[in-house]
């Protein structure tokens, strides 16, 4: 829900970083499946370039009109925006459910195999609907606390694994091998949902500069690279046996007799999921053309219910689950949502933008 209170865009960037930590922490053992530095670096490079490209349309709109994409699109054509907002509601539903599935899978495999994932998803969505009713400004403040906790969690996980770190690359590590390059690149491109979240929430921000998206992109992929590095050289081949690499990394951390800091990992990833789902639901609320806050909340609750229904479908039908977990499918959606549609809007309404 749009608000007249402005806040520094750095806080929004912080929220985006917190959202980005979630796919990093939930990466499976098949993420960047190549024990090869060249393939990993090329994939990360593609990820950085694509994410920066995706920021461009939203940054241009914000820089020129001081509005985010949703507000700009509503001002240009409300009828046209109805169709566009329907697409974006579908897009936000798909990415939210995709990451909820990953989170629930991690919860079941690492915490409680008999946990009812539907209850977990329902509770998360209920809490996030409430959070979405408060708006992006309070969420960005919450992100400050979550970010502080993430620093502690990452410090514990990385420093706790320093003693187990063995830089012993195998023979294929330094030999160029691009056999899995397609899936590796797709793995890195899933982060492109972040510019879309930015594009739907940046109206209330101030002091946006061009270096902010650049810095946040580099920090996100830097965190990813560091996590991959530790996963490769601490857990090694063992990580292939386990579904979630960073969860394993948290279990191998130790300081003297104190072992297994998976509780830090669980708390961190849970907080990130809440921030992510809330940010997406706030983006959904910005899809609505001007209406009362009660109706907006009702609309968000309905979308959250649709998300839950999709989650239940994915839980029951493996084909749906496979599609939602397919990174190439998510990349295509990211391309359409972050580049194609905003690009078309900028092209068609360029005079309005540059006036």
């Amino acid at each position: 829900m749009q608000s007249n209170v402005t806040f520094p865009s750095k806080r929004l960037m912080l929220s985006l970083f917190v959202c980005s930590v979630m796919p990093v922490m939930l990466m499976g053992h098949s993420f960047l499946q190549s024990d090869n530095i060249f393939s990993s670096l090329v994939s990360i490079g593609f990820g950085i370039i694509f994410m920066l490209l995706c920021f461009v349309p939203f940054y241009s709109i914000k820089h020129r009109s001081r509005l985010d994409f949703s507000a700009f699109a509503k001002n240009t054509s409300q009828t046209g925006f109805l169709f566009v907002s329907a697409y974006y509601c579908m897009y936000f539903t798909v990415i939210t459910v995709s990451f909820l599935i990953r989170f629930c899978d991690m919860f079941v495999s690492g915490v409680n195999p008999s946990a009812n994932t539907k209850v977990i998803a329902f509770l998360i969505l209920c809490v996030c609907v409430y959070g979405a009713s408060k708006g992006i400004n309070p969420l960005s403040r919450v992100s400050i606390f979550v970010f502080a906790f993430l620093i502690i969690a990452f410090a514990v996980i990385f420093f706790g694994n320093i003693k187990s770190f063995e830089f012993a690359p195998n023979s294929t590590f330094l030999t160029p091998d691009f056999s899995n390059i397609q899936s590796n690149v797709a793995d890195c491109l899933i982060f492109a949902f972040l510019p879309v979240v930015f594009g739907f929430n940046s109206t209330s921000t101030k002091n946006l500069s061009v270096k902010q998206p650049v810095i946040i992109t580099l920090v996100i992929f830097g965190t990813l690279a560091l996590t991959l590095f530790f996963t490769d050289f601490v857990t090694g081949a063992y990580s292939v046996q386990q579904p979630f690499s960073v969860h394993l990394l948290s279990r191998t951390a130790y300081f003297g007799d104190m072992k297994g800091f998976d509780s830090f990992y669980l708390a961190a990833v849970t907080a990130c999921v809440f921030v992510f789902a809330t940010a997406v639901l706030i983006s959904v609320s910005n899809c609505i053309v001007n209406t009362s806050s009660k109706r907006t909340l009702l609309f968000v609750a309905i979308i959250a219910l649709i998300m839950f229904v999709l989650f239940v479908c994915a839980d029951s039908y493996s084909a749906v689950k496979e599609l939602l977990l397919n990174n190439i499918f998510l990349t295509v959606l990211n391309f359409i949502s972050a580049l194609l549609i905003p690009g078309i809007y900028i092209f068609i309404y360029r005079r309005k933008l540059y006036d």
């Binding site: 008999s114 187990s164 090694g236 191998t252």
Partner: protein
């Protein structure tokens, strides 16, 4: 304000009751701390020593071909809620050889509930029998393993490092601990050939 005052305790009650279930409560008597694999007259017997919470040592013994089958059998026949999340030590009789070690380590690596930092070592049969009599056997064996680890380079003491070294290119052999108690409890290094 009144809504929040009503909603917050309501959600708290829902969360508490949705989590409570007698069937899901983990009994401390189902937490396994140590597993030993013994060779008894050509048959492999797995002993599960439970978390110490009394004067007596509590354990269950299961005859099985592998740790995976032993866990299934133990859950079916003895303790349905058997949990390996607190497993600290896995000792294998040296008579069983590295084939058993490799199979069981592979099973441990697949189970996300089992800590990758579980100490794993070979041992003689006398040390394995110590666990059924001495409550402090786990503590003593761990101390010896740690002491050896601090003084020996390239020694694999955890299931994580043993698994990786079975897979890795490490000059074709893997060094692990061997615990013996002929005269007194002692830890040595034994090398296993891994190159095929």
């Amino acid at each position: 304000m009144i809504k929040k005052l009503f909603l917050i305790p309501f959600f708290a009650i829902v969360l508490i009751f949705s989590g409570c279930s007698n069937s899901n409560r983990i009994d401390t008597s189902s937490l396994v701390q140590t597993i030993t694999a013994e060779d008894k007259s050509g048959k492999t017997v797995y002993n599960f020593y439970l978390l110490e919470n009394s004067e007596d040592v509590q354990s269950i013994s299961v005859e099985a071909e592998s740790l995976e089958k032993a866990v299934v059998s133990a859950k079916e026949n003895y303790i349905p809620m058997l949990t390996l999340s607190k497993l600290e030590l896995f000792l294998i009789d040296s008579e069983l050889g590295e084939k058993t070690l490799e199979t069981d380590i592979k099973y441990i690596s697949r189970e996300s509930m089992i800590s990758p930092l579980t100490y794993t070592a070979f041992s003689d049969s006398k040390t394995l029998q110590l666990f059924s009599k001495d409550k402090d056997a786990l503590k003593k064996v761990k101390e010896h393993i740690l002491l050896l680890k601090n003084n020996a380079k390239g020694l694999s003491v955890t299931s994580l490092s043993i698994f990786n070294n079975f897979k890795g290119e490490n000059n074709g052999y893997l060094s692990i601990c061997y615990i013996s108690s002929e005269k007194e409890l002692k830890a040595d290094i034994v090398k296993i050939v891994t190159q095929k």
